[in-house]
């Protein structure tokens, strides 16, 4: 049953998540523009951008880059499918890490010095957020008694009540996962803090379009993780979760627009410290 539902979930996620993610990206650009006192592009601008990229010529520096990117996209879809079909949260975390790895390898494979620097930094970003993400999955088990995301519907109180410290910790590393400033080390959406565009330097045309779509899916998945804290047995809680998700996304946009990029040392140390403190304290609170 798990396998079948994961398969159906993956297919549905692969269709729906890019649409939602595209709208989120559009919202991001509109809100960011307003914060900067501009009118900004139309809501569907990310869609127009990607459609244009897809129509461009397929040119690349080697024959393997696109294959790796397709893998990254596919495993992001599997990860989302497992998550939203009520599957195992740890497996979901592992699959999205696999997706990140393919993205990193794609950049390495080009041997472009700029892409390689981006790849190094992306590897460092993964290392920075991974402890907190794993602790999040573990805390979820401690709060619900199961790794299956579907188990939230059997709760009487939302998980955030018992693991709010882990929720705060996850919010901190979410900025790294979403590649928002101040933690947009591997590639930045802000032209002013990038010499050359980091990890995606050598990706162009249809390949870059696939990268964008992968990010849309990732964003939907990560917001799903946020929402997971606020769902319990009552169906209305889903509405609450959606409201929190939108609020968290707006918060991320706000942070993105108000901070300059930090050095990697600060990112690594602060993310690990947050994971250590939030994780340990919350576990201690749960066990005793």
């Amino acid at each position: 049953m798990t396998m079948l539902s994961a398969l159906i979930g993956t297919l549905l996620f692969a269709v729906i998540a890019p649409i939602l993610g595209c709208l989120l990206a559009g919202l991001d650009r509109v809100v960011s523009a307003r914060m900067q006192g501009r009118v900004g592009p139309p809501l569907l601008q990310p869609y127009y951008d990607v459609r244009k990229l897809l129509e461009k010529e397929d040119a690349s520096v080697n024959s393997v880059e696109k294959t790796y990117i397709i893998c990254a996209l596919a495993f992001a879809a599997v990860s989302g499918g497992i998550f939203f079909s009520g599957g195992n949260l740890l497996l979901c975390v592992f699959m999205i890490t696999l997706s990140s790895m393919f993205f990193i390898v794609a950049a390495y494979s080009t041997r472009s010095p700029y892409a390689e620097i981006g790849a190094h930094r992306e590897t460092l970003q993964v290392m920075s957020y991974e402890p907190m993400v794993l602790l999040f999955a573990i805390a979820f088990f401690m709060a619900t008694g199961s790794f299956n995301t579907a188990s939230v519907f059997a709760l009487e109180l939302p998980a955030v009540v018992s693991i709010w410290l882990v929720f705060l910790g996850l919010l901190y590393v979410l900025t790294i996962k979403l590649r928002k400033s101040p933690f947009d080390l591997s590639m930045s959406h802000h032209a002013h803090q990038e010499i050359v565009r980091g990890i995606t330097t050598e990706m162009s045309g249809p390949t870059l379009a696939l990268v964008e779509i992968t990010h849309w899916m990732e964003n939907v998945l990560f917001l799903g993780w946020v929402g997971l804290f606020f769902v319990w047995g009552n169906p209305i809680s889903i509405v609450l979760a959606l409201v929190v998700m939108v609020f968290v996304y707006l918060l991320e946009i706000f942070i993105d627009n108000n901070f300059a990029r930090v050095k990697w040392q600060l990112m690594l140390k602060s993310a690990w410290l947050v994971a250590l403190v939030c994780g340990t304290l919350n576990f201690v609170l749960l066990v005793f």
Binding site: M3, S60, V64, F94, M95, S109, R111, E116, S128, L268
Partner: protein, 640 residues
């Protein structure tokens, strides 16, 4: 029983023959044929007894006892002779202490104790037999080609010492079979010491100053473990009146107080052999040996004997707090520290060594936890680590002979220069650190078992250690994946025996990952059920199948999908006019040619060895000393 005897004795006979054969062609035939025989025999043993609970054979022999004693004296003589030759007082003294203790034990205490069932096997022994018989003998075949190149690189007129090398490799296999099949603890101890002295001779094989020093470091640390083993034997006879390993474990589970000291001592012996902190330096030093030796030590023998011992003792750890805490904490800290230190290494073999120690730490910690779920995870870690690590060592060894370096920074463009080898290496690396491959599934099971126990300390350690693991593997994987135009393919000169072994490991790896649910159901679960009476599989079979489907997909992409893209080729962007993408040169603003270089991150100031190692070693020494002190005083909080 004939089969067990065959697996132990046959490699010894082969070793005796190889010790006198000086002809390359004859040696090739003997090694390949006998490796085939050992491999087939161990597979047959596994296949005929799949799912077997413990099977015991009534076998006791005064002759074998005498032989064991003679071997013990011989081993001591060899070590003392070397200690005198190279003026290493500590090694000589430890060898004397050990041989005196074991002679006193065997003549004064042991002969009154009769072990009826001298030989046995259960599903764990079968799994180990598969690892030793298939992976171990695969490495012996690989060594044929490697050692030819090795001899080539030796100075003109150097003595050809390969007969000794191959004889030692096969003695090693025989000793490993003896460790996993012997129920008589004295026999087991003898085999244990044979592996110690074999690896001593193999590490020191090149006879350079560094090799000799590292060999002595190995022997000193493992003799300390050996002495702890003898101490455990004394206590076992005096307090518990048995030398049967199975009876010993059963009694220790029923009455942890009486077995406290011997269990702690045996756990210590396992920790030294598994190169846990503070003993990690012997395994790091062992990489000066020729690569087949490293592959053998790291994957299928030696260190696996250590964790085999610990996994066997796992049910005791579940009820005996002091040794359990020692094993758990030492394992956990070793995992964390060595994963950190691996980040700062650019020497491929050193990265592999640190990763081995870290993974052994994880296995050790799982054994210390001792629940059925943790033992399930530990068993899978043993299996996948053996396959993936041997694959990686064989690949690095071959790459080293063909690109002339074992530095990861020099493996740039390996994908072009040795396309097949790079793919195998990438497969091995992926299996080590990324889901859905075997090691990560085992780590997943570890997390589940820990969270069910509420073991916060190990969970936190695991979370940070895994993140570090991602860093050092991903950057190596990235380095391998670099692709340029069409450099010369230097792969054509790889020996056929080397390819044979590499492909064998790769196939084993893929098969084991894809058929993981079956491996669980037919090999690992029977052992857990036999020992604990309940199953230990903490991950649902459906989720295991999702993993194996994903493994199949990744493998297909890696071996069939890559390099098929038909897009137009363009130059790499280098902020100038690109002169040559492959060489990464460009024309700069002064119309001169500049070369762009990029190096991986090693973060020496955060994860450097000099900074971290003393702290980890210090913590582990304190833990071990405290555990022994508590054991001798007889305090065991779990008993209260």
């Amino acid at each position: 029983m004939a089969m067990l005897g065959f697996l132990i004795v046959f490699p010894l006979i082969v070793a005796a023959v190889l010790a006198v054969v000086r002809n390359d062609a004859v040696r090739d035939v003997i090694v390949v044929a006998s490796a085939g025989v050992i491999g087939v025999a161990s597979i047959a043993l596994v296949a005929m007894n799949i799912g077997a609970p413990g099977v015991f054979f009534a076998y006791s022999s005064g002759v074998v006892d005498m032989v064991c004693m003679a071997i013990g004296v011989l081993i001591a003589a060899v070590i003392i002779a070397f200690a005198v030759k190279y003026k290493n007082i500590l090694a000589g003294a430890l060898a004397v202490v050990q041989v005196v203790l074991s002679l006193v034990f065997e003549l004064g205490f042991a002969h009154g104790v009769h072990v009826e069932f001298g030989l046995y096997f259960d599903s764990l022994s079968l799994l180990m037999a598969f690892i030793i018989g298939v992976i171990g003998s695969g490495i012996c075949v690989y060594a044929l080609g490697y050692m030819k190149d090795f001899q080539h690189h030796e100075p003109e007129g150097a003595k050809d010492r390969r007969p000794l090398f191959f004889a030692l490799m096969f003695i090693f296999l025989a000793a490993m079979f003896a460790i996993v099949f012997c129920n008589n603890m004295v026999w087991m101890f003898t085999a244990w010491e044979i592996t110690t002295v074999c690896s001593f001779l193999l590490i020191g094989f090149t006879k350079t100053e560094e090799a000799i020093n590292n060999a002595f470091r190995q022997i000193v640390m493992n003799l300390a473990g050996g002495i702890a083993f003898v101490v455990a034997l004394f206590y076992s006879v005096v307090d518990m009146g048995t030398l049967s390993f199975t009876v010993f474990i059963a009694q220790a589970v029923l009455n942890p107080a009486i077995a406290l000291i011997p269990v702690t001592a045996l756990a210590f012996a396992g920790i030294t052999k598994a190169a846990q902190m503070p003993f990690q330096t012997w395994l790091l030093g062992a990489m000066v040996a020729p690569t087949p030796t490293s592959a053998l030590l790291h994957s299928s023998t030696m260190v696996k004997a250590g964790v085999f011992m610990l996994v066997k003792l796992a049910p005791v750890f579940l009820v005996s707090t002091v040794p359990a805490l020692m094993v758990m904490l030492v394992g956990g800290i070793t995992f964390l520290w060595c994963s950190f230190m691996a980040i700062s290494q650019s020497n491929a073999k050193r990265v592999l060594a640190y990763s081995t120690i870290a993974n052994l730490g994880l296995i050790t910690a799982c054994a210390g936890v001792g629940t059925p779920e943790a033992v399930w995870a530990a068993t899978f870690l043993v299996l996948f680590h053996a396959i993936a690590k041997s694959l990686l060592f064989l690949c690095v060894g071959t790459a080293e002979h063909h690109i002339g370096s074992r530095d990861i920074e020099d493996m740039d463009l390996l994908f072009d220069r040795m396309p097949r080898l790079a793919r195998y290496m990438m497969l091995g690396i992926m299996c080590m650190f990324i889901a859905p491959f075997g090691m990560l599934v085992a780590k997943w099971a570890t997390i589940v078992s820990l969270v069910e126990m509420g073991n916060i300390v190990l969970l936190i350690i695991l979370a940070f250690g895994s993140a570090a693991t991602f860093m050092f593997w991903a950057k190596w994987l990235g380095k391998l994946s670099g692709i340029a135009g069409q450099p010369e393919n230097v792969e054509t000169t790889v020996h056929r025996s080397e390819w044979g072994s590499v492909v064998l490991m790769a196939v084993l790896l893929v098969v084991a990952c894809v058929l993981l649910p079956y491996v669980s159901a037919f090999i690992v679960e029977p052992y857990i059920a036999y020992v604990y009476g309940v199953g230990g599989q903490a991950i649902s079979t459906d989720n295991l199948w999702i993993s194996s489907i994903c493994v199949a997909a990744v493998v297909i992409v890696l071996f069939a999908g890559l390099g098929r893209g038909k897009s137009r080729r363009v130059n790499v962007y280098m902020a100038g006019i690109t002169a040559d993408s492959d060489a990464r040169t460009f024309r700069n603003s002064l119309s001169q040619t500049s070369e762009a270089t990029a190096r991986n991150w090693y973060m020496e100031d955060i994860f450097g060895e000099k900074k971290l190692a003393p702290v980890g070693v210090g913590i582990c020494i304190v833990i071990i000393v405290a555990a022994f002190a508590l054991s001798f005083v007889g305090i065991n909080p779990g008993m209260l």
